[in-house]
């Protein structure tokens, strides 16, 4: 589904990604872990199409298409969803209007008819239950005045509404208490279909108790330095990141 080859990217002339290789097949759940500043969020931003980051080398293909040539909105319409670490507040734009526009804009690109008001409301009702998000939140402006937990729930609600093929969840667990974490993780699990893929980016192993990955990668200093099964996350939990740092830095 997603292939990343020797990806290098920089921001303001500083190289952050130094040659990433990654392949995610349909149906797989991958976790990308790593210490702060290793490039995890940059990787998700580059996949999303954030123009602040400059790709200097390498390629990303998604379903066989060169992703780097496509604008942000088209990547989304093709089924890539980013759950942001810091969701943006948009005062004055109502949640309902926002998500309705997003759903129908994506449907347009996909050659589908826009949802009628009734269809949309029904869909929204279903999906709201899934992430246990109340009427209160959807009636407000996008993320405005939401607590940290509400913002993250709202990301998963949007994911539920947009039904992506590839979801990239960037530190969705940061700032969440255990109850909110459970709700968010349950939402993600319920939305998982046999042919959809998920990339979970996290600093902590705890989230992976709830969203169980097939493969765990460790990203350090702009490169993937280790790839293994889900047991790798447990090792990290136990030993921290220092042994990885030592291994990698020591090799030089």
């Amino acid at each position: 589904m997603l292939k990343i080859k020797n990806l290098k990217a920089e921001i303001n002339g500083k190289e952050i990604l130094k040659g990433i290789n990654l392949e995610i097949k349909a149906g797989e759940v991958h976790a990308i872990m790593g210490p702060n500043g290793s490039g995890k969020s940059t990787l998700s931003a580059v996949i999303a199409g954030n123009e602040n980051f400059k790709v200097t080398e390498g390629e990303i293909t998604y379903q066989g298409i060169n992703l780097l040539e496509l604008p942000v909105e088209q990547r989304a319409a093709m089924g890539i969803f980013i759950g942001f670490q810091y969701p943006i507040e948009i005062p004055g734009v109502s949640m309902v209007n926002f998500i309705k526009t997003a759903v129908n804009e994506q449907r347009k690109v996909q050659g589908k008819e826009p949802l009628t008001a009734a269809q949309f409301l029904k869909l929204m009702r279903e999906k709201k239950e899934l992430v246990e998000i109340g009427e209160k939140l959807t009636n407000r402006s996008v993320n405005e005045g939401f607590s940290g937990g509400e913002k993250k729930k709202n990301e998963i609600f949007q994911m539920a509404m947009l039904e992506p093929k590839l979801a990239i969840l960037d530190e969705t667990d940061s700032g969440l208490d255990i109850d909110a974490l459970r709700i968010v993780a349950n939402g993600v699990n319920k939305l998982k279909k046999p042919d959809t893929s998920t990339i979970v980016i996290t600093h902590y192993q705890r989230l992976l108790d709830f969203i169980v990955p097939d493969i765990v990668h460790i990203l350090y200093n702009g490169r993937i330095v280790k790839t293994a099964g889900k047991e790798l996350a447990l090792t990290l939990e136990e030993k921290g990141y220092d042994w990885i740092k030592e291994q990698v830095d020591g090799k030089k």
Partner: protein
């Protein structure tokens, strides 16, 4: 100097036409001409050297050749086509004006509870005491030369009277139409008197149905009596060659509420001066303004709120979205007198520049002499929020659509203040179409062609 010629011409206009001006006007308003003209002569049309007009250059506007007439005009307006245009349509009692003059055959309309709409001539004949009591009492010819010019030249306009305890079932909508093929210069005068404990909803719409170069210099005086409430809305929807200058003076008596919105959707040059005098205790004054401008348009809103007495609240929110080479200006001056303790005054001006060529000048000011007050002011000039744009695009919303959503959200804060539901929806629709670039091309009316 161009300005000298402009002033000379305007003085000549007065001197050569004074007989016609007086003959076709009420003797009550004629009394004020000479002294007002003297004030105008002293000051002339304000130039960039006048602090208040530093950002609004009136020379190109005034140096054009306009038609002027001081004789009554015969205007035929096919009203059946009216609402096919962008004129705000709602369930209201409509009065039509042309060039700011009363054109309906029936020069006076009387409503239950004694509410009246009338032409100046009619009002000054039938209700001379009320008319005389309020005419030219709230404006200031000494510090506003354009108001002085209006007082010297104005012949007619609209008089609205709400007696004590009165109200109307429907809002009153005054539509001022610009319909002549050739451009002209007109001086309209309005007087609105809302007596004690009355409640009024009044909507002024400035619309153009043809494309001549117009220059309107309007003055409106409003008296809001004790415990009276006035909701006052102005929708300015003309075209790129129109120039609309207005001075609005509001006098608020004890415990009165003035709630106003001014929506500048289309016009070449729009200059609105508001002067609000909170003359007695317990007044409340809310003023909202939204300007959506592009091409080479200019809008300027100058607001002066005078807190003379204690326990008054005033609130201003003005917003502008500027595209292309549009320019805008805002100046809000809140003056709190020594005795105006417990004053609550807010003033906010926010602006979005969509291009590098657009320019906005803003000047929020507080002048406070009392010591127990709560006052705030703030102004911002910026671009659309890039992070919000990216967030929306990452959800599949195209750039253009995302931009629309953000602009509309920005504008809607001013529109949502409108208290008349149908009017609010109408303005929301107009604003949305304006932001989409549709408004300058009216779909139904061939008379309304706008220079692109």
């Amino acid at each position: 100097m161009k300005i000298d010629k402009i002033n000379k011409d305007l003085q000549a206009l007065y001197s050569t036409n004074i007989k016609d001006i007086n003959d076709y006007s009420s003797p009550i308003i004629n009394k004020y001409r000479e002294s007002a003209f003297k004030e105008f002569k002293k000051a002339g049309v304000p130039t960039k050297y006048n602090e208040d007009y530093k950002y609004t250059d009136l020379i190109p506007t005034f140096e054009k050749d306009y038609n002027v007439t001081f004789k009554p005009i015969d205007v035929q307006i096919k009203t059946e086509n009216l609402f096919k245009c962008d004129v705000v349509r709602l369930d209201a009692d409509v009065t039509l004006l042309s060039r700011g003059r009363y054109i309906e055959e029936q020069k006076i309309k009387e409503f239950p509870k004694g509410v009246i709409i009338a032409s100046f001539n009619e009002a000054s004949k039938k209700y001379p005491e009320i008319f005389e009591k309020h005419y030219a009492k709230y404006g200031n010819t000494k510090n506003n030369s354009l108001y002085a010019l209006n007082t010297a030249l104005a012949q007619d306009g609209i008089f609205i009277y709400f007696p004590k305890n009165s109200y109307t079932e429907k809002p009153l909508q005054i539509i001022n139409l610009l319909v002549d093929e050739k451009g002209f210069f007109y001086n309209t005068r309005n007087l609105i008197v809302i007596e004690e404990n009355a409640q009024a909803n009044i909507i002024f719409c400035d619309d153009s149905l043809s494309t001549g170069e117009f220059l309107g210099n309007t003055a409106t005086e409003i008296y809001v009596g004790k415990n009276a409430k006035l909701n006052f809305y102005k929708i300015q929807n003309e075209h790129n060659e129109s120039n609309n200058i207005s001075s609005t003076y509001i006098y608020q008596d004890k415990d009165s509420v003035f709630h106003a919105g001014v929506y500048s959707l289309l016009g070449g040059l729009i200059r609105n001066n508001f002067d609000i005098n909170l003359a007695e205790e317990g007044c409340e004054s809310d003023l909202f303004g939204l300007s959506l401008i592009d091409k080479k348009q200019h809008t300027a809103n100058f607001v002066h709120v005078n807190h003379s007495k204690s326990h008054c609240n005033s609130n201003q929110l003005f917003k502008t979205i500027l595209d292309d080479k549009a320019t805008g200006a805002f100046s809000g001056k809140v003056y709190v007198a020594k005795d105006a303790q417990q004053t609550n005054a807010n003033q906010t001006n926010r602006n979005i520049l969509l291009t590098d060529d657009a320019k906005m000048s803003t000047k929020p000011q507080l002048i406070i002499y009392a010591d127990d007050v709560k006052c705030s002011h703030g102004a911002t000039v910026g671009q659309l929020d890039e992070d919000a744009m990216f967030y929306m695009r990452a959800r599949g919303i195209r750039k253009k659509e995302a931009k629309m959503l953000l602009m509309y959200a920005f504008a809607n804060e001013c529109i949502s203040a409108v208290k008349i539901d149908a009017l609010r929806e109408n303005i929301q629709d107009l604003a949305q179409r304006r932001l989409n670039g549709e408004l300058s091309l009216c779909r139904n009316c061939s008379a309304r062609v706008v220079n692109a």
